[in-house]
Symmetry: C2
Subunit: 420 residues, 2 copies
C-alpha cells in the first residue's frame, strides 16, 4: 500500500471519503467491543477449572502435615515455596508467597519503604525527595503506586533489549534522589519486549548514588509465551548477587494469568536480607495469606513442568488472537507509514504507535464507534504520552470475531486520524 | 477450700510439699500441651469442609453474572456485601469486603493514616505525635500494630461493661495527641466481656480533642457464642452516625473463626465517606481480593441465619471445652483467693488473674511441665502487665483430655507460685 506521505491532496480526499464510508458502516452496527483490559478470556479460565475442586474435604493437609484451613505460616507453605521457587528461579529461602495480588505486594513494599525505610537504610522514605525511573510505555498501575506516594517519575525508553540501559546508568549514577525503578522484564506490558542478558547484568552491576536503590522487577509474564518455549530471561536476583548488590531487587510474579486473576497466588523473590525485612512487616500486618489456595495450586499444577504444560494450552487459545490483530493491522496499515506495532511472542499486549499527536484522536474515534480502547496516555506516567502516539492493544479477552471487528475499527480510525 | 492467706506457716509447708509431689508427677508424664493460640480445633473446621467444594467448575459465576475467576471488583461481590452487611448490621454502601485477614485490613488503615492522613484531615500521621487508648487486658496483635507505627499506647481497664468509659472520655477530651483507640467489643479478647449500650453510646458521642479521632472496633467474635444466642451489641457505626460522628469508627469482622482461619473472608464497615477514603487506597493497592472465596462463603452459608446455625454447631464443640477449664479451675482454686477468672458466654478466651507478681512464674513453671501458655504480659501493650497477674487461656484447640490435663497443671502451678 501507499505511503500516506506521498498521497496528493486529491488522493487524500478520496481516501478520507472512503474511510468515512466505512466509519458510517461501523456506526450503523452499534458495536460494543472492549479491548481495554489485559484479562484472560473465559476459555483460558475454563481449562483451569480443575483448580476449584482439587482441594476438598479429604485433601486440605499439606504433604508436610500442615492443616491449610487453620492459622499459621506467614510466608507460604513449604510445597508452594518449592513450586514457585522453581517458577522464579530462586532458592526457597529467597521467596515469600502472598495472597492473590502481586500488585498488592508491590504497593505494600512501597508503603513499608515510605514509613520504615529499606533493609539497607532504615530512614523512612517519607520525608525524603524521591524519584523513580519508569520505562515507557509501561504499566499504568505501577505509575499509580508512585503517584500515591508522591514519587516523581522519570521516563526512560523501553527498547527491544529492555529499558535504555545507558540512560538508566547515567541517571542512577548521578542522581541520589532516584530511589528505584520499575521494569516488566519479560513480554513487557505493553511492548512485549524482553530484557537482554546485557541489560540485566548492567542493571545488577551499575553504580547507584542512592545507597538503597531498588529495582521493582515485575516478572508478570514469566511463562506466558505464545511460541514453542518461554523467552529466556537472566535472573536478576542472581545477577545482583554476583555483582555484589544482592538487596537491589524485588522480583514479583503471580499466577494471576496462569490460573485465575481473581484467585491466584502472588509471590516475591528477594535476597534473604530483604525477605527478613519483609517478614518484619508481615508479622505485624497479617495472620498470613490463604494457604488453602496455595495448596490448590500445588495439587493442581504439581510442578513447574505442569505450569508450563498448562501455559501451552493457554497459548493455543491466545496465539490466534495475537495473530488476528497482527494480520488485520498488516492488511490495513502496512506500507502506509502511519503506524507501527510490536509482534510479541508472549505476554498480554501489543503496543502500537501512531503518528505523533494521533493516539488520543484514534481512541476517541474508536470509542464513538463502540470500540473501547485503553485511554491514550495510560501507558505513561501521569497519563502523559509526550508524543501522544502510543496505544495499548489487549487481544486476549474478546472472542476472535469481536477482535477482528475491533481491530478493523482501530485500523480505520488510525487511517482517518492520520489524515486529519 | 481454705483461703491461702489464712494458712499457717506449717500448713503452707505441707501444701507446698503436696503440690511439689503433683508437680513431680506431671514432670514424669513428659507432657507436650499447647494452650497458647486462639485457634479453632480441627473438629470445628471439619464441619465447614463443604465450603471447600461448593464452588466448582459448574458454579463460579455470581447471581449477578460476575465471573469470580477473572479480574474486577475492588470491594467485594454484591452477594458477599448482602450477606456480610447483614452480619455486621450495616448497609451495603457501608461495607468493604477484603481478603482473608481482618488484621491485614486494620494494619493497612494505620499505614494509610500514617502516610495520607484520614478522611477528615489529610495531614499524614507520620510526623505527628500520636497516642492510642488500649483496653487491657487486650489483643497483642493490636498492640503490635501501634508499636510498628511508633504510636504510644495508654492502658485503660477493660471492665465487664467495656473499656472504663469515664477514663476514656477524660483522656479523649483533653489530649489531642490521642488519635484513636482499640476495642474488641464483643466476647473481648481475652476477657470475654461485651460492651454495654451505655458504653457504646458514650464512645460514639464523647467529645474528642483530636478532630480525626478513630475507634478501631474489632468485632472478631460477632457470632461466636456458647449459649443460646449471641450477645447483643449496639451497632457503633449507627451510634456514631446518630451522635454526629459518622467517621469516627472502623468496624472489623471476619469469618476466620466462622469458616477457616486460613481461608476466610475479612471485612470493614465504615461511613460512606470512610469507605470512599479506603477505596482510594485500594485502587492503587490491589487488583481486588479473591472473589472466588467470597462466593464460596455466599454459597455455603446462604444467609446470616445460615451463619448463626453453623455457629451453633461450633458452640456444641467449644462450650464443653470452656466448661472443662472452668470446672477444673473451680475445683482446684475456688475459695483460695489466689486467682479469679472470667466465664465468657462466647469468644475464644478465658482471662485469669493470679495474685500480683505471679503470672510470669506460673507461665514459666507450666512451661517446665510441658504446658505452653501465652506468655505472661502478652495481653498488655509493650508486653508489660504492670501487676504481672494476667494469663490468657485459649481452650478451643486442644482436645478435652489434653485440656483437662493442661488446666490441672495450670491450677497446680498457680497454687505453687502463690506460695513462693
Amino acid at each position: 500500500m501507499e505511503n500516506f506521505q506521498s498521497l496528493s491532496g486529491q488522493e487524500k480526499q478520496q481516501l478520507r471519503a472512503s474511510l468515512q464510508k466505512r466509519i458510517n458502516e461501523f456506526k450503523a452496527q452499534s458495536l460494543q467491543l472492549d479491548m481495554t483490559r489485559g484479562k484472560p478470556g473465559p476459555e483460558q479460565l475454563d481449562i483451569c477449572n480443575g483448580l476449584l475442586s482439587c482441594v476438598d474435604e479429604k485433601h486440605f493437609m499439606t504433604g508436610g502435615g500442615i492443616d491449610t484451613r487453620n492459622y499459621g505460616i506467614l510466608d507460604g507453605i513449604a510445597e508452594a515455596k518449592v513450586l514457585f521457587a522453581h517458577y522464579m528461579g530462586v532458592s526457597q529461602a529467597e521467596i515469600i508467597i502472598g495472597g492473590n495480588s502481586s500488585l498488592n505486594m508491590m504497593f505494600d513494599i512501597f508503603a513499608q519503604l515510605v514509613t520504615h525505610g529499606s533493609s539497607t537504610d532504615s530512614t523512612p522514605w517519607f520525608s525524603r525527595r524521591k524519584k523513580f525511573i519508569c520505562p515507557v510505555p509501561g504499566y499504568d498501575r505501577h505509575f499509580t503506586i508512585c503517584q500515591r506516594f508522591g514519587i516523581e517519575m522519570i521516563n526512560v525508553d523501553m527498547n527491544e533489549q529492555g529499558p535504555d540501559i545507558a540512560q538508566v546508568e547515567e541517571l542512577v549514577k548521578n542522581d541520589g534522589d532516584i530511589v528505584g525503578m520499575w521494569c516488566v522484564p519479560r513480554y513487557s506490558n505493553p511492548t512485549g519486549y524482553t530484557c537482554s542478558d546485557d541489560v540485566v547484568e548492567r542493571l545488577a552491576a551499575m553504580p547507584a548514588k542512592c545507597k538503597d536503590f531498588r529495582i521493582f522487577w515485575d516478572d508478570a509474564y514469566a511463562v506466558h509465551y505464545l511460541e514453542r518455549e518461554p523467552e529466556k530471561l537472566l535472573n536478576l536476583l542472581n545477577a545482583c548477587k554476583k555483582a555484589g548488590n544482592p538487596d537491589r531487587v524485588f522480583i514479583f510474579a503471580s499466577t494471576s494469568k496462569v490460573s485465575f486473576p481473581g484467585g491466584g497466588v502472588a509471590m516475591i523473590a528477594a535476597s534473604e536480607k530483604n525477605c527478613a525485612w519483609l517478614k518484619e512487616r508481615l508479622f505485624a500486618q497479617t495472620i498470613g495469606p490463604d494457604k488453602i489456595n496455595m495448596l490448590r495450586h500445588v495439587v493442581y499444577f504439581k510442578d513447574f513442568a505442569g505450569m508450563l504444560k498448562h501455559m501451552q494450552k493457554q497459548a493455543v487459545i491466545i496465539a490466534p488472537k495475537f495473530m488476528t490483530v497482527h494480520n488485520i493491522l498488516t492488511g490495513e496499515l502496512e506500507g502506509k507509514e502511519i503506524a507501527c506495532w510490536t509482534k510479541p511472542s508472549g505476554g498480554y499486549f501489543i503496543s502500537l504507535n501512531t503518528l505523533d499527536n494521533c493516539a488520543k484522536k484514534v481512541v476517541a474515534l474508536a470509542g464513538e464507534l463502540g470500540v473501547k480502547l485503553t485511554p491514550a496516555g495510560a501507558t505513561f506516567p501521569y497519563k502523559k504520552d509526550p508524543q501522544d502516539r502510543n496505544i495499548r492493544i489487549a487481544p486476549t479477552f474478546p472472542g476472535i470475531a469481536d477482535l477482528r471487528k475491533a481491530t478493523e475499527v482501530l485500523a480505520v480510525c488510525i487511517q482517518y486520524a492520520s489524515l486529519l
